[in-house]
């Protein structure tokens, strides 16, 4: 099968594939500090998606 690794990762690193903004409402966070506090309180990991909207 066509390797999703090559297809996906190449798009990211070569083309600089951009992700559009995603609402975080469902996850109840707006800033890094707030999200980190939430993770600490709930003893969960904080997963951060760093993207650029271009």
């Amino acid at each position: 099968m066509r390797s999703p690794l090559l297809a996906g990762a190449l798009a990211v690193l070569i083309l600089g594939a951009a992700a559009a903004a995603t609402a975080a409402d469902d996850h109840g966070t707006a800033t890094y500090a707030e999200a980190l506090a939430q993770a600490q309180q709930q003893n969960k990991l904080l997963v951060i998606d760093f993207y650029a909207d271009w």
Binding site: R2, S3, G8, V12, T29, L45, V47, I48, D49, A52
Partner: protein
């Protein structure tokens, strides 16, 4: 692609159910500062951090919902920090730790270290060897830009991928394209021709709307240049890859001129086209970049004086760009050498 799927993929929703999720636009609000704090170098980059903000897992790129969910699951399965995982690997190596450390290094663009860990993961977990080989090949390809890997090392991994029973036509096209690019940079073009030929054979079996179709068209350009030695044909094929009305688009004009420069073909027209880009462009920074392309083309055509004039204009337009000053020094040195 991740953003499109985050609200629609049940797999991603499932992975997010037990974590706190924070999307960070790296160009807005607090994004640049947070991205700098985490040394983000490409997009998308993902971090899983504990409640103290310490990285537990990090990876770059989005390879689909399943792979993404696996990364989140790996972070949840072993919540030690990456620092602790590195220490643990020294005494008790496992494939899972090797994979975490390989992704960590790749996210930091440390491709030699990433490849080292992926190779260890491959040894420790032979059942997933093909997957790791894909990673090894890809990161060797990126590392080749800095001279971290030789053509022969990269070719060996390509051969492993091509030998895999499930390597399909799209994979063969991608591998051919990457091998050709490495070969050109390392002056091993003759060794890449068999891959180019096989990549085109594989591409001929793909439909026109295949995701690999553009890469196939690019391979045809390479074939015209490197095998047929037919520059006019290569130029025509390269132009055919450009979108409609590209001759009115400064960015596309510059892109095409730069391709001509890199391949040392069609330079006379390339110079005309890139100067049109300069005229059409409204932003000084863009015009400066296009003048740099024009200057490089002048240099290639042996006109050092014109190259110097154009790069001086670029410096006027973008006085803060040190690169253009370095370019001026390079062109002046070329002129001195020419006269000397």
């Amino acid at each position: 692609m991740f953003a499109r799927e985050v609200d629609s993929s049940d797999i991603i929703k499932g992975a997010l159910a037990d974590v706190i999720f924070l999307p960070v636009d790296c160009e807005k609000g607090e994004g640049p500062a947070i991205a700098a704090k985490f040394s983000v170098r490409g997009y998308p980059t993902f971090y899983a951090v504990n409640g103290q903000g310490e990285p537990v897992e990090r990876w770059i790129g989005y390879e689909g919902a399943e792979g993404w969910a696996r990364s989140v699951a790996a972070a949840r399965a072993d919540t030690r920090t990456l620092v602790a995982k590195k220490t643990a690997f020294e005494t008790a190596p496992t494939a899972a730790l090797a994979l975490s450390l390989a992704n960590d290094a790749a996210t930091g663009y440390d491709f030699p270290v990433s490849v080292k860990y992926f190779k260890q993961a491959r040894e420790l977990d032979p059942a997933r060897a093909d997957e790791y080989t894909g990673n090894i090949f890809m990161y060797m390809y990126y590392g080749a830009d800095d001279g971290a890997f030789t053509f022969d090392e990269i070719r060996a991994e390509a051969d492993r991928m091509l030998a895999a029973a499930d390597a399909e036509a799209g994979d063969r096209v991608d591998i051919a394209s990457m091998i050709v690019q490495v070969a050109r940079k390392q002056d091993r073009v003759a060794d890449a021709i068999p891959y180019l030929t096989k990549g085109l054979e594989a591409g001929a079996t793909l439909p026109e709307d295949s995701p690999a179709a553009r890469t196939v068209r690019s391979l045809k350009v390479d074939h015209a240049l490197l095998v047929e030695k037919d520059a006019p044909k290569a130029v025509a094929l390269r132009k055919a890859m450009l979108p409609e009305n590209w001759e009115q688009d400064p960015k596309r004009l510059n892109q095409f001129a730069w391709w001509c420069l890199q391949n040392d073909v069609n330079l006379e027209e390339a110079e005309v086209l890139v100067m049109r880009a300069v005229e059409l462009s409204e932003a000084d920074g863009d015009r400066a970049n296009y003048l740099d392309t024009a200057a490089e083309i002048c240099l290639k055509r042996g006109n050092c004086e014109e190259a110097i004039a154009r790069i001086r204009k670029a410096i006027e337009l973008a006085p803060d760009r040190e690169y253009f000053k370095e370019q001026l020094a390079k062109f002046e040195a070329a002129l001195t050498q020419k006269k000397g």
